[in-house]
Amino acid sequence: MNLLESVYVALEGLKANKLRASLTMLGIIIGVGSVIAMLAIGQGMRKKMMTQIESMGTNVLMVFSGSTSRGGVMGGMGSRQNLTLDDADAILKGCPSIINAVPEASRNAQVKYGNKNTNTSILGSVPAFLSVRNFKLADGRVFNEREVKAMQKVAVIGPTTATNLFGTSNPVGKIISIKGSKFKIIGLLVAKGASSGFGGDPDDQVVVPVTTAMRRLFGLRYVRSINLEAKSMDVMDVATDEIKKVLRKTHKIADGADDDFTVRNQAEAMTMASDISGMITAFLGGIAAISLLVGGIGIMNIMLVSVTERTREIGIRMSVGARRHDIQTQFLVEALVISFVGGIMGILLGVLIAWIMGQATGWTIAITPFSVILSFGFSALIGIVFGIYPALKASRLDPIDALRYE
């Protein structure tokens, strides 16, 4: 018997028990569908994280103040504030690979305009934040170095904050009040899209000169972090070394002592994000794979029932000349047909679920050929693995016993 005939016989066998075959198939459909959907969500998340990191610039480094250690107890990163504006200047001067240094200090504060007010993040920064953080201006201008030096009360406003305070009218030129001080809005940022940044909504903030934020508004001595732009991605490692050297000098750290700051670059962040999303994808996919496994057990179960029920048929086939491998092929092909058809329908279901979830939640969904091939291959494998035992069982029946089976 050739394969085509085997498939035909298998289809006949399945047709004899349509409901049972479809329910068994449903197990595989759900399994493959959930693997596809889960991988689509995981891959979508990864894609989104990568885009975000890339949008922040791949040649960006960040310096955070380091950890404290008191009596052997390590505090977290940034638990001791020790980065100053002077550090930022020192890095810019002392590191040839760094072309921009952007110190940042931020606090939340109430912002008022007329009878409207909102609580938002006030970010103190310098003009170069635009290029380092990949912001663009929709209108107006950013404050300049002179205004930073002079602690001017000028502000660049994020689009969400602008809408909250001004509705649809143009905020540029308006005067707002931050913690009671009057600030003139000189620029409006282009929306980056909500949740497209780490640590808050980049569209809902007010950017003011860092000196103004630290001294006039919040009375801070230290900055939260310094964002640095390197000449190119290739000099990231050199830049890291240069920064460490400069900061150890300005912080007067003795040779052999630990750094009191941390330098992070985007490549590391990317690796981290990739690791995290990889883990989440594996986790989601793994859980979905369990349902596929359960579907496979369903196939085995129903095939065993089928072999028992059709013992006599197996005997008849053997009596007219079916060889052991003919019987084995017949039942294996039946299991494979269930898993193949289930696999194809599962892919369609998975794509549909992923699409619906993407529409409903706004998550990025990425269906990769890899995930389709993986889950289809997995379901085919399950068909073979869970089909082989019942098929072997069928083929090992003794013709006489099989014919006498009631």
Binding site: M1, A16, I316, M318, S319, V320, A322, R323, R324, I400
Partner: protein
């Protein structure tokens, strides 16, 4: 054609060994019509299963067409069943839910050689047993006699030289039994070797030769003197309601 020497078969049921056949020897020539008789447990069914290559002897020799069959592999035996033997059972053994035509095509599906004209050959075989007009009927739409005729067509379709019947009339009434025996007699006249197992003397008398088994031995082997002709018996039976009307 069939030569069996010192054939024995021992079954092991747990700790108990059952010797179903004890050194049976027999020769059956081409074109013979043999009936095998004996009480239950006499070894006649075991003998039939071994002759039909469904079972393997424990010891002894079985040559079919001068080929030793006793030591053959399962797959080789399957090919012998497919090519040289046609088996008809007491319980018909049709596959449920399949139309007659499909049933008859079954042996051809496991035939490595001829793949052409499968439908045509199956129809011819059904015509041979007078059931061509019911080729699309499923077993549950056929009477017992019709089912057995489908089974005979299936046994004939690969054109084997030997037809084996294990109590082929055991589940049928007198008239239908005669009709089935008529087919066997016709096949015999066409030159086929026919071997049937039965426990009914009336049925056995349709054969040329009766072999009796008892306790695993062949106890008698005689030629039938006054053979029954199924055609004559059918002619003498009163005409009943045609069985075909009670079905469909």
């Amino acid at each position: 054609m069939i030569k069996i020497e010192h054939l024995s078969k021992t079954y092991h049921l747990g700790d108990i060994s059952v010797r179903a056949l004890k050194s049976a020897s027999i020769e059956i020539g081409a074109g013979e019509f043999v009936a095998i008789m004996g009480p239950s447990g006499s070894g006649k069914s075991t003998f039939m299963n071994i002759v039909g290559c469904l079972d393997k002897p424990t010891t002894g020799s079985y040559t079919l067409d001068d080929i030793e069959v006793a030591g053959m592999s399962d797959d080789a035996l399957a090919m012998v069943r497919n090519q040289k033997l046609g088996f008809v059972f007491q319980t018909f053994n049709l596959i449920p839910r399949q139309p007659a035509l499909k049933q008859v095509m079954l042996p051809m599906m496991y035939d490595a050689h001829t793949k052409t004209d499968m439908t045509e050959r199956a129809i011819t075989a059904l015509q041979r047993v007078g059931l061509a007009e019911r080729m699309h009927h499923k077993p549950n739409e056929l009477s017992g006699g019709q089912q057995q005729r489908v089974a005979i067509a299936r046994a004939l379709v690969n054109n084997p030289r030997i037809i084996l019947g294990d109590e082929p009339t055991g589940n049928l009434d007198t008239r239908t039994s005669e009709e089935i025996m008529q087919i066997f007699q016709e096949l015999h006249e066409e030159g086929k070797t026919v071997i049937i197992v039965t426990h009914e003397e009336d049925i056995a008398k349709h054969a040329q030769r009766i072999v009796r088994f008892k306790d695993g031995h062949i106890v008698s082997d005689v030629q039938v003197k006054d053979r029954t002709s199924a055609v004559a018996v059918l002619a003498s039976l009163p005409i009943e309601e045609d069985e075909e009307e009670e079905t469909v």
